[in-house]
Amino acid sequence: MSVVLSADEASELLKASIAGKLPDARGRFGPYGGRYVPETLVPAFERLEQGIADHLHTDDFQKEFRSELKNWVGRPTALTFAPRLSERWGAEVWLKREDLAHTGAHKINNAIGQALLAKRLGAKRIIAETGAGQHGVASAAACARVGLPCRVYMGAVDIERQAPNVDRMLRLGAEVFPVETGDKTLRAAIDEALREWVTDPEGTYYLIGSAVGAHPYPYLVRELQSVIGQEAREQIIAQAGGLPDAAFACVGGGSNAIGLFYPLLGDAEIELIGVEAGGTGDGLGQNAATLATGTPGVLQGSYSIILQDENGNVRETHSISAGLDYSGVGPEHALLQAIGRVTYVAAGDQAALAALEDLCETEGILTALETAHAYAAASEWAAKNPGKRILIGNSGRGDKDMPTLKQHPIRNKPNAAT
């Protein structure tokens, strides 16, 4: 099954998307999305859909959510001008500082929003999956905040490479459940969380961490993360005097990217660029560049673009960053690529590491390895488009990556006192 959209269809879908009409009643973003779940979970998804309709956009819920974002998460997060990085790149670079949000990444916006919703829906416990551990930490914190027990599924490989976050989750009172099956990373953790949910679809709330999965999750996560783009748009107009020429965000499942891009879709003059993990190369299993190299298929509940072999088995991925190391991508990104509104490119492990150092040296910000991919692509774009205003979604901080970064020598020490 392939998806080819005519120019007219693409234009209609873009209009519908900007007008907030997607997903449609069947949970579709054009051809993508939908709900492919085991029968046991169908009533649970229907309850969740109804719960969202009953609560998410009510004044009561929004008041509580906005209050938590302000007083507990610490929003609005800053928009930071990056003068030294701008000089190095020959551009005007602005950073949307999701790393300053409580627990250190954008993940908390979604986690607290869903935890509040779960509470209203009468959930007895929360399960979540995590790759880099940021969503696990955010879920652990949000569950403590609303007073619900929390279990986080995490692949054994990720437990190893994101050790600091494992300790944070435990300290915040969550249970961390190691997943030893499949690829032992994010995909296996989602599979295992779904299996757990199948055993208790009524009492358990599955707090998914990215804009992936079956309807209504991609929609719900987008709605909760759109605060990033809403704030950034206002801030850049106020601080820079106008909209950016281009906006960059890294894409694994795509939650921070959809959160930044969605409120900017209608600003046709902004070029939107999503950056996937190019890993170590273009070969099978060497990267996680789903949109760049994948094909349409169904993985973990939705029809989207996935990395798969000719038999429909999902391929393993590689990325230096655990949070981008995923064989699928949110269905709304698949649509935005198909209609040409967002361009998706890949940045490799080495380029991400170099960009991470650029930012450390010039602005004193240690960004997450996931986020570093967005910088790598932005620096390349800046070289070809000198003097432009660039907005980068600085989705998280890099403290969690110290075990990985220790394996890579520090390039130089330009700021060292002599």
């Binding site: 099954m1 069947r26 939908g34 709900r35 492919y36 779940v37 085991p38 029968e39 046991t40 169908v42 009533p43 649970a44 099956t181 499949g182 995909r187 599979d191 779904l194 299996r195 199948v198 055993t199 208790d200 679809p201 009524e202 349409p296 298929g297 169904v298 993985l299 973990q300 509940g301 996935i306 798969q308 000719e310 038999n311 429909g312 088995n313 999902v314």
Partner: protein, 255 residues
């Protein structure tokens, strides 16, 4: 007779002979791809319908046993295409109706119209697709129906009554009643409410109801058989194959 009608006929024949219909499940090409047809024949000789699992990289509704068999089979090169080719070599040698269980993505990758045609050619009478709910199933159902191949629906203890009726009406071959709220291979035993649940499912179904998940022993088959036309035995049989024991001895012990 359409292929999917062979399934109900086989289950009813077992019931007429005073037995519960027995539906053994094996993962295609497990444990040894070279002996697949031999294993399939020995299982088919001791079952009324055989459920054949196509391995998939992300078996989200399966427990550890079937996950393990699935990953081993994939490593050994087992695919949907390979499975059809193996079945080609045994056409006319297996009378037992076959049902294929596959997650959706391998079927999408194969292409629905080729799938339906190959199924009919190789004696596959129906499909079970655990991650394809009724609402998303129109395209696949239409393609299969064109070749007389059925799409079996699952119902579970969590299914509300009005949905149960819709699923029963849509199902072809048999109606798959999942006994537990959970994944395959559970060892928690069958729930106390099993009898009333299966009675309620049977009451709305025009085709035979087969119960599956957690059925491991002759006692389980007897218990289920009082309230359903057939019993599906999956993980327990895959464990027998995993140990290298004789599946025929195990299945004969269930009858």
């Amino acid at each position: 007779m359409q292929p999917h009608e062979r399934i109900a006929t086989a289950i009813r024949a077992a019931n007429d002979a005073g037995r519960t219909g027995l539906v053994p499940f094996i993962t295609a090409g497990y444990p040894d791809p070279k002996r697949f047809i031999e294993t399939l024949k020995s299982v088919a000789n001791n079952g009324d319908v055989v459920e054949l699992g196509i391995p998939f990289s992300d078996p989200m509704a399966d427990g550890m046993t079937i996950q393990r068999s699935s990953f081993v089979a994939i490593e050994n090169g087992v695919t949907l295409r390979w499975t059809f080719e193996q079945l080609d070599s045994a056409v006319g040698e297996i009378d037992t109706p076959l049902v294929m269980m596959s997650y959706l993505n391998p079927l999408l990758a194969f292409g629905y119209s080729d799938l339906a045609r190959r199924a009919r050619e190789t004696g596959v009478c129906a499909f079970i697709v655990p991650d394809l709910p009724l609402e998303e199933s129109d395209d696949l159902r239409a393609a299969l129906e064109a070749e007389g191949v059925g799409l079996i629906q699952l119902v579970t203890p969590a299914t509300p009554p009005e949905r149960l009726k819709k699923l029963a009406d849509a199902s072809r071959g048999f109606l798959y009643a999942v006994t537990i709220t959970g994944i395959t291979g559970g060892d928690a035993g069958l729930p106390d409410t099993l009898a009333s649940y299966l009675d309620a499912v049977t009451a709305v179904s025009a085709i035979p109801v087969c119960a599956g998940f957690g059925i491991r022993s002759a006692d389980d088959v007897v218990n289920v058989g009082k309230h359903a036309a057939g019993a599906i035995v999956g993980s327990a049989l895959v464990e027998v194959l995993e140990r290298g024991d004789d599946p025929e001895v195990f299945l004969q012990g269930l009858r």
